[in-house]
Amino acid sequence: MNVIYELILIVFLFVCAIGAFLSERLLIAVVIFMSYSLVMSVIWALLQSPDLAITEAAVGAGVSGILFFITLKRIHALKGTKDE
């Protein structure tokens, strides 16, 4: 039964990764990448590594997401036009 959940999560990972690379608006790419990190942290919790899960949720999905957002603001990519 666990295997099915894990497979679903892996499919999620792929969807998130491919979606992040395909999307042309950087904001969406970054949001999808954050959800990738979140899925990754769930996978680590399933793999019995709670340390990694906490760290990934705090660092990967939290702080590096914030860094990406500020960068997008600094490069004026939040205005809704494509890539600029």
């Binding site: 690379f21 790419a29 990190s37 680590w44 019995q48 709670p50 990519a77």
Partner: protein, 127 residues
């Protein structure tokens, strides 16, 4: 055929890690947009960590936190990959920050985050 599928499902994490590694590597190489290059780098690193962490997992065992006085190595999973991945995550977030800082500066100079354009502009300046 059936056995092949069973093996595929059994090695699911490693296969997913390798494919994600390829995806991230390709994006780090090929994406023109610097932000997406950085996302590619992050995907690549976390896929390596997924590979490592999945190597440490053993079916039916629990996380190595000794709260109930059981010291038997047969009960807990392998703690080494977790430690290594913890180190790796911090390294990768540091590199990400550095990369983003470089991107911000380049945008300040050339007003674009397209890597190929930036390289062409730099080469033009050199001539």
């Amino acid at each position: 055929m059936k056995q092949f599928i069973v093996e595929l499902i059994n090695d699911r994490f490693m296969i997913a890690a390798v494919l994600l590694f390829g995806l991230g590597f390709m994006n780090l190489l090929l994406q023109k947009n610097l932000i997406k290059k950085i996302i590619g780098f992050n995907v690549m690193d976390s896929s390596i960590f997924l590979f490592l962490a999945s190597q440490g997992y053993i079916n039916g065992r629990i996380a190595p936190i000794i709260t109930n006085g059981v010291f038997d190595a047969e009960v807990y999973i392998n703690p080494i990959p977790s430690g290594l991945v913890l180190t790796g995550i911090v390294v990768s977030v540091s590199v990400t920050a550095f990369f983003l800082a470089l991107t911000v500066r380049l945008y300040g100079i050339y007003k674009t985050v397209d890597f190929d354009e930036i390289m062409l502009l730099i080469n033009k300046e050199a001539e």
